[in-house]
Symmetry: D2
Subunit: 344 residues, 4 copies
């Protein structure tokens, strides 16, 4: 079975494992109060060019999203996001569990726009209605598309106009930053938002996301919130050690190298499928692509390849999700194209 199911089907990149082995017998204090987390934070500040910020090592994407939202909003405040976003669709109501609504808007190619934010605001009136206070977007989006510099700037401007916080989920940030279409640097992204995270789990770490909070108000007693939400890992240094290994070398680091490889593998898949005339569920330049196949083809492919069906069948067609990662091998990609070519 060849895996295109997710970018977290293997362990960690060997260099990450090596770093964990090398530091394994050290004694450090717990809960992220150690020299490795400190160094990783420093590396992130240098990488993003943002020195005045707080960095927290989070266990995973869902606890990161939920903790940020719960820590930032008052009880009567809501988050605006697209209906296809991870935080809305795939977190089993983790945000609602903290008492907050996600105001879900139908996105445009998976993306939010200033117009959609305005429309969400149309629902606000007075004390009888929830007050939108945060915009959640992810870069890339849940369906692989990316915000251009102009698009993200427009959203950031709209947030300022409405006195809203802008939070960027970067579970696959590496894929966005290293894809061919991207025109938004990590420094620019960091400068536009109030908080964002650099995802480790989906780019070669065992687990862990590095959350960067620029807006000091969002950071108030943040570690209390992490503990309360169950997200303060006892051996917190594990995340610090991994990010040291991932980010050593800054823009030339393993992190960007791995993301770039994943994108390259997706590029081969995408162009191969386009040549065969395949259509796509979304317009994605990153490491997730969503070709739409006849049901019969899907039934054949799933015998040898492991992937998600992304949406219910419609008119005999099903969109599937193919994900490539740091460990995806070109031979496997070629095998998929070859098999698909024969089936179509």
């Amino acid at each position: 079975m060849i895996y295109f199911r997710s970018d977290y089907s293997q362990g960690a990149h060997p260099k990450v494992m090596e770093a964990l082995m090398k530091t394994n017998m050290e004694h450090t204090d717990g809960y992220g109060l150690d020299v490795h987390c400190e160094r990783a934070a420093q590396m992130i500040k240098e990488l993003t060019g943002i020195s005045d910020c707080d960095v927290h090592m989070m266990v995973g994407g869902t606890p990161c999203n939920v903790t940020v939202i719960a820590a930032s909003l008052r009880p009567y405040e809501s988050v605006i996001a697209v209906r296809s976003s991870h935080v809305y669709v795939h977190e089993t109501g983790g945000v609602e569990a903290t008492g907050h609504r996600i105001v879900a808007m139908d996105g445009v190619n998976g993306k939010l726009t200033p117009e959609l934010i305005d429309r969400a605001w149309d629902e606000y009136e007075d004390e009888h209605t929830l007050l939108p206070r945060m915009v959640y977007i992810s870069q890339p989006t849940e369906i692989g598309s990316i915000y251009s510099r102009a698009e993200m700037t427009a959203i950031a401007d709209k947030c300022k106009e409405k006195n809203m916080l802008l939070y960027v989920d970067g579970a696959r940030l590496g894929a966005a930053l290293t894809c061919n279409e991207n025109d938004l640097t990590i420094e620019e992204l960091a400068g536009l938002c109030d908080a964002f995270y650099i995802g480790g789990t989906k780019n070669g770490a065992l687990f862990g996301e590095a959350l960067v909070i620029r807006n000091a108000k969002m950071n108030d007693h943040f570690r209390h919130m992490m503990k309360r939400q169950g997200g303060l890992l006892a051996k917190g240094r594990l995340i610090g050690v991994q990010f040291e290994a991932l980010l050593e070398g800054g823009k030339e680091s393993l992190y960007f190298e791995m993301a770039s490889h994943a994108n390259k593998m997706a590029d081969i898949l995408r162009s191969g499928l386009i040549e065969m005339g395949v259509e796509f569920y979304s317009d994605s330049p990153t490491n997730q692509i969503f070709p739409v196949f006849p049901v019969k083809v899907v039934r054949e492919l799933e015998k040898d390849f492991f992937f998600y069906e992304w949406a219910p069948e419609k008119d005999g067609m099903i969109p599937i999700r193919l994900v490539t990662a740091w460990g995806t091998e070109e031979d496997d990609v070629r095998a998929f194209l070859s098999r698909t070519g024969k089936l179509l």
Copy 2:
């Protein structure tokens, strides 16, 4: 200033006040454990023909909706409702405050349909997603429309198919039951759903809603939930006394008489406006109508009449909400038509 702002701008119908006066010096036990609440419950069982149910006297619509949902759902379960529903738009996240999501669907003339329920279910996959478990509708809807017997039956069937609970918000139930278009009796409605309430606040009571729970599972420790949600009134008998006054006489009672009057006043308004060629934001046969006027006309009307602007201006037009009630006088209705006629 003439009020078309809401159906709760006056106190209670004089007969309700009289009942409160007459029983005022009685001593009873608190929290709804008294003979008046008991008698009112009995009257409701007779009116609906449903003897095997539990009746709870609730202070208002929002605590009623929130308590029912919080008492019925497990933490990972959600409620499907239309996006224009009261529970979604006008309760400041009361439901989310209990940890549950309202899956908001764009309604058809303010109504939910089996197709929309199916579409909401398309978002459910497995443990990564919320499990829809209740359908919330109101009769009439937030924009005055009503479900026909066929429509509500189709929704009830869909709920059974999906193992979902059906809950009907009856804040203005009287208006639905007594309007000209209605073909659904209160017995039929009661028989189709798992729980519903008969609204008092918006039909001549000082306050109070009578919640009827037919599904015993939803009633498990329900009074604990009422207290926890802050909805167990110390002098609970006040609601019982009012419903005794409202429902004395069953289908010939004050409750139906008042609702019928409100509808009649709305009918006059509606047909008068139709004659003038006015268009409406929704198709409503009940005591709330939503004519759409040029901004200038609205600005003139609001000098003498008090009402809500229902939605933001669009192309120079604004939909307003006109509500009639048990105390609305025909002269005031005529005054509105006359003034509007001159302005258009």
Copy 3:
């Protein structure tokens, strides 16, 4: 059956009912945005001598307590209260439902002390522990005792030292202010705390409590919080109208007159029982007293009198609660003493 069960077993004082009748047919805006609520607020500002505050008309004590706490605290903050307090014992976890802990301390005659607050703080360490941020007390306490001026001042000082908010539940505030032992005026009380409420339900209103918030931070978007917690009554003016009637005349108003009567009735009961050598569960100078009787006596008394058993039997004795109110008649009090005298 003679009622000593609670101070909310009857309707409202006839003058309150009269005010409701007189204003019944007025049209006003809903949700407490009306001239009666405004006037009542003004009367309260004059009565307390605190002009720079916000007044909210709340439906009942539990929603008032819960909304104040939920509106004032961040998610990782807790409330310190005595274990016998209403908010801890008798609100079915309404506070926990909003995500906050009540740090329960064993009180001294039902009261909190600066030493107990210090001991609660001993449990705070860092991000692994909850941060105490509010002190909740009630005046009088749940077992009838009252804070002297010196005692409440000491608590207020401790709150300032620890950067905590002081909130006073005044469900029976009238009873405290008019009892013989009291040396704390309403102006002084208002000046010592950040927020408190003047209870209506237990002193002659149908329902309703007037919440006074002096600390502007606690008032931020407070009406949003009221709605979210289900506590914004549609016909909010009902509470305003009642408080107008209750407080007309300030210190000479019906409110103080009724509380004073209730205390006088309790005084007769108390001194009668003391003469018989009865012991008490708590030292209470207000309208609730807690005599401890042999089980057999309780079983006889409950045939003619309706009251609560306050705690489980211990060594053959049971403490019961006797409550007097504005409507308690001296004959009934005498009947209780006479019957008890024969039984002991």
Copy 4:
């Protein structure tokens, strides 16, 4: 600096790291749905002799406790625990964040008793009070003491009598099972409770706890709850792989070997200190001991040794916590005794 601060100051036992390295490049499905988690679950069923149960791989102790409680209780239900318990003191209100109260009782040497459970029940009356539904204990307790077979059986019996669930937090279960005083086997413990967990983080894993649920009702949609609470790790197999390595060999496995070593190191510390006449804050036979030292001694010791001060100074004395672990070396233990001997 020598660490006696916690049993999670190092990485994982080398054999655990080896297992992670060996499986690192495998592709598996995510979220714990893989062969390693399955095998680890099977090993746990064999070890405990409980085949009819569900095993979930949890990231850490706090998310495990919180998820179990949130999944098992209805909103108006509470948990009884001792006031010194981890779930009450050191989880920053994680349980309250899900809307549940922990009814905190002052423990006896850190332990709950049937009498304390009865006393907690005295606070339950009716719908105005929370209904106790779960007992939370840990084995060993937060201050190192253990329940004997007789003690835990008595608690289990009391739970059955009161229709309560019994949940055992086993963060340091290995230390309890392998200490000299213990007379309760893992099979017996598993048979007495409704759910418990085998802690990995504090006994040689990088992280991870294996939750065993015997009561099927508690397992209903449990994975939905795990996701909702942010505790479903993407690379869930990491926990499975670690438990395979920890439990290979059953009672002769690395898990018991490491716990036994930790206890042996604590035994040396304890007996050395007893010889010096040192007194202890608690009676603990496991790998955490709490000697009480004069402030001056603590100030000297902390220059070379890293540990927690467990409680505020009192009469010039401070209790500290010394924790030993799988990686503690006897030389370090001897160094502590030698240094302390000189200071006393």
